[in-house]
């Protein structure tokens, strides 16, 4: 083993002075950040043209850690903000990284519309089954019977099947991996970054300090064991059947289609109308 003399190969993607980050030991958010930065590195993306937008939550802090233009919005509004950014400057690569509550509870409406419009935004959802930042309340993806601080007797709400929701809303690329499938998560992020249109990647993420602790998985390792035990790769299976249960987490790429993106349609239309307007003016 050698002493550390080299810098971490990805340190140029991270804001120096902000690492180590605030996330707990074993937090899946760290793995999501790692996979994201890995994908950016493999693609050698121009960091000056990459914009990271995050919502509120533990994962929301990710915008402060990436060495790119970044914005930390109000709760749930990351996609609406990102739509404005992308339309105003379509050359920018806009990535929204946010959590299950931020994107699908308060932000649910903005998610389905951004997907419907096929806005060229890449969305990475770190789904840790609860509202971690505020202490572990139930959220729209909390599994049935889970204990959280606002469902102390067990959750009675059916959770969303995010993959189904994204596919039904019109996303052109939908994938789900856990933070154990780091390589495939990285590859999916790479694929999304190279694709045009609205891409959605659900990263099932460990929250050991809160969700795990309340649900008999006291450490990150136990949660990762659950991922290992329950994951089945079922690429391109029916998204409607991809619900998450304690015994089965269907992972894989579920949707990968081509559809004209909103900004392409918009700018084509503008060129057509602009030509006409120029003709009239003479």
């Amino acid at each position: 083993m050698t002493q550390q003399t080299l810098e971490h190969p990805y340190s140029k993607y991270l804001r120096q002075g902000m690492i180590p980050h605030i996330w707990c030991p074993g937090c899946g958010n760290g793995v999501v950040l790692n996979a994201f930065v890995h994908a950016v590195d493999e693609l050698q993306l121009d960091l000056d043209k990459l914009v990271v937008v995050s919502g509120i939550g533990c994962i929301g802090r990710i915008a402060g850690y990436t060495n790119t233009d970044s914005f930390h919005t109000t709760h749930g509004r990351a996609l609406a903000f990102a739509s404005g950014v992308k339309l105003a400057n379509p050359e920018l690569e806009v990535v929204v990284v946010s959590g299950d509550g931020d994107l699908f509870a308060i932000g649910g409406n903005h998610f389905i519309h951004a997907a419907r419009r096929n806005m060229g935004i890449k969305v990475i959802c770190a789904n840790n089954f609860n509202y971690g930042m505020t202490g572990g309340q139930q959220g729209p993806t909390t599994p049935l019977d889970s204990v959280t601080t606002t469902s102390p007797y067990g959750n009675i709400e059916h959770p969303f099947n995010l993959v189904h929701l994204a596919a039904a809303s019109g996303a052109v690329y939908v994938a789900r991996w856990t933070t154990l499938h780091v390589r495939r998560l990285t590859q999916s992020i790479k694929k999304a970054l190279q694709k045009k249109g609205f891409c959605f990647i659900e990263a099932i993420s460990a929250c050991p300090e809160i969700y795990g602790r309340y649900n008999n998985m006291r450490s990150g390792l136990e949660i990762m064991e659950w991922f290992k035990r329950a994951s089945v790769v079922e690429s391109f299976s029916d998204p409607a059947k991809a619900e998450i249960t304690p015994d089965r987490i269907a992972v894989g790429e579920f949707v990968d289609v081509e559809k004209l993106s909103y900004e392409k349609l918009l700018h084509e239309k503008i060129s057509k109308i602009n030509e006409k307007a120029m003709e009239q003016v003479g």
Binding site: M1, T2, Q4, T5, L6, H8, P9, Y10, S11, L14, I19, P20, H21, W23, C24, P25, G26, C27, G28, N29, G30, V31, L33, N34, A35, H38, T179, L180, V182, R183, T186, P208, S219, G220, L221, M224
Partner: protein
């Protein structure tokens, strides 16, 4: 699917194959002790050490750097960017 017989044979040029050697770097004080690298390394290259780092946890220590196959799993799974593996530049090793 049953593995075809021919694949089970050792490749003819196996004695000349060069296996890259790994250089494992640990940023010990950045480690938060989650244990992912230790648990999920396919070659069990890491083990929890007994020392305590600046964060008050036991960082991993490398048991046998030679076993590392440069799969990069630890580099990508570490939530804290506390471990990375690079190829040792002068690597020249005959496969046994």
């Amino acid at each position: 699917m049953i593995m075809p017989e021919r694949i089970k044979h050792e490749p003819l040029d196996s004695k000349d194959a060069k296996r890259p050697k790994a250089e494992i770097h640990l940023i010990k004080d950045q480690c938060k002790g989650c244990g992912y690298c230790i648990e999920f390394c396919p070659k069990k290259v890491f083990e929890e050490s007994t020392e305590i780092n600046a964060r008050g946890v036991h960082p991993p220590k490398v048991v046998d750097e030679d076993k590392c196959i440069l799969c990069d799993f630890c580099t990508t799974v570490c939530p804290d960017f506390a471990v990375f593996v690079v190829e040792r530049k002068d690597s020249e090793d005959k496969k046994t």
